[in-house]
């Protein structure tokens, strides 16, 4: 089910709102954040001060920061172009917030050998780490873990489940 991924996004967005309140976001980063799902909106609305306006760029940045999963092609660790903006936002956030720490959890789909899949998960986590560091994140802010195929997001044995399992999850500590 996709609900587990959505739940992860929601929960992480909640904790993210906690981090962000102390830092660079202006007060009033509330529900008015543009075209995105209500989950993110309500999370950020919790601490906000309604009435203040948010620029379109800021709204987009908030939206990108709420995206906490990067997906990969089969047997690949290349970052697809569609995830560049998202990683840029996280990288810049880390660069501007020295106290923020991020755990990158790498995963693979279930096909093939388990230990080799641990390797694929780590390679993917490392790929995300490199991109974030190019944006200015410090090495000490980033930890990588690989679960290989051991913690699937989806338990099906089909292409769609496999696609959703080939991922790196971003988890702010």
């Amino acid at each position: 089910m996709k609900s587990s991924v959505l739940m992860l996004l929601t929960l992480s967005a909640f904790s993210l709102a906690g981090c962000m309140r102390d830092n660079t976001l202006p007060e009033g980063a509330n529900g008015d954040v543009g075209p995105d799902p209500g989950a993110t909106t309500s999370a950020l609305g919790a601490g906000g001060n309604s009435g203040a306006s948010v620029t379109a760029a800021e709204a987009e940045r908030i939206r990108l920061m709420s995206l906490l999963v990067v997906y990969f092609d089969y047997d690949q660790a290349d970052i697809r172009p569609e995830f560049s903006a998202q990683l840029q936002a996280h990288g810049q956030f880390l660069a501007q917030n020295a106290n923020a720490a991020l755990r990158l959890e790498g995963h693979a789909d279930e096909r093939g050998s388990r230990e080799y899949n641990i390797g694929l998960g780590e390679r993917r986590a490392q790929a995300v780490r490199r991109v974030l560091m190019l944006q200015g994140a410090q090495a000490t802010q980033l930890t990588t873990v690989s679960y290989g195929e051991e913690r699937p997001a989806q338990t099906g044995t089909d292409e769609e489940s496999w696609r959703l399992n080939r991922r790196v999850e971003l988890s702010y500590r």
């Binding site: 050998s113 388990r114 080799y116 390679r123």
Partner: protein, 449 residues
Amino acid sequence: MSIVVESVRIVARSRAALLGALAVASALLAPAAQAQLDITITEGRERAVSIAVVPFGWQGAGPPALDFAGVIGNDLGSSGRFAPLATADLVSRPTQASQINFQQWRVLDADYLVIGQLSAEGADSFRAAFQLFDVLRGEQIAADTRAGIVRADLRDTAHRFADLIFQTVTGIPGVFRTQVAYVSEERRPDGSRLFRLIVSDADGENAQRVAESPQPILSPAWSPDARRLAYVSFESGNSGVYVQTLRTGARERVSARAGVNSSPAFSPDGRMLTLTLSRDSGNLDINTLDLTTQVLRQLTTDAAIDTEAVWAGDGRSIYFTSDRAGGPQIYRVGTEPGSRAQRITFTGVYNARPRVSPDGKLIAVVHGQDNRYRIATVEIEGGRVDILTNGRLDESPSFAPNGAQIIYGTRENNRGVLASVTTDGRVHTRIAAVAGNVLEPVWGPFPRE
């Protein structure tokens, strides 16, 4: 544990007795009883040797202390090389050689006949004996007698007898006294998972829980003396490698470095482990760890994923998986410094997870082709590939210590099950847990005595 054989008659009446005994026994087992195993022969019995295993004669109070013929028949049948006659089909029940009429057995097409005797000699002391006959020649070809056996050792004695029968007929040592280790995974209704590392007899009996965690456990590996298991556990939040002594339960975390700690394998002398570590670089490489001195040495430095190392029998080289050529293939590197890795597999785009056969001539691998992952053997000299299994998600092959069978993990109806195939690819067996998933089987070595 129950044994079901689909295409061959098996000792029906003694099986019922066996199941009855097991039902009582399993209530007394450690919690690992939930991973009771069902063994089913699924394919390939046509060439099996026909053998009659007659219920042993019993002298003692009450029912027989153990159904020797049942244990022996199950062992021989599960190897895939024998087809024991069903008890109901036994034309007579001799318990002494003088009672045998070989012509009766020839009519039944039985090539071999086993008879035996079990007697109680004291409060907890038994005497057991068997004799094996070549029916066509009408001659005894093997026998054994053991006395002073305590009740707890009766099953092991039956396995000993089965080993001797197996070896006499096939020329190959039997593996009925060996153990297997495997991981069982249970999904709870609340979505949480429970992983257990389990060791059991090769027939699934006497399952013992070695480790348990809500986080994944994988890659169990036997020490050559069968006293320890190394394994990977995520219980600390990251991967860590542990070595546990089976008899005491004591364990040591031997690697918990930053990054990946995985894929342990003992050297043939039991003193070293190969480990896959990524450390600070994030690049997976093979390392050797001396368990006594704690000296760690890096064996591979390639930017590729290098993992799944296992030792050759002489301890002088290591086989491993590397994707330095683009996709995973098997390589070999010498253990002496400066040794360069040589590629071993050239057929197919995906060959991973090598395991060396006991005679050193083959490696078993996970062979991927057209989105199917199956177990294959590869000749080390010559490179010939033989695909042995027919699943889609087969993994974790492990040779029996006699080299005659390979146990592996596969899927059935979206459940993890174990299976085995004879190394010649002819006979297939499926081994399913009664509940939950079972995976990552590893066949233990021959017992020491």
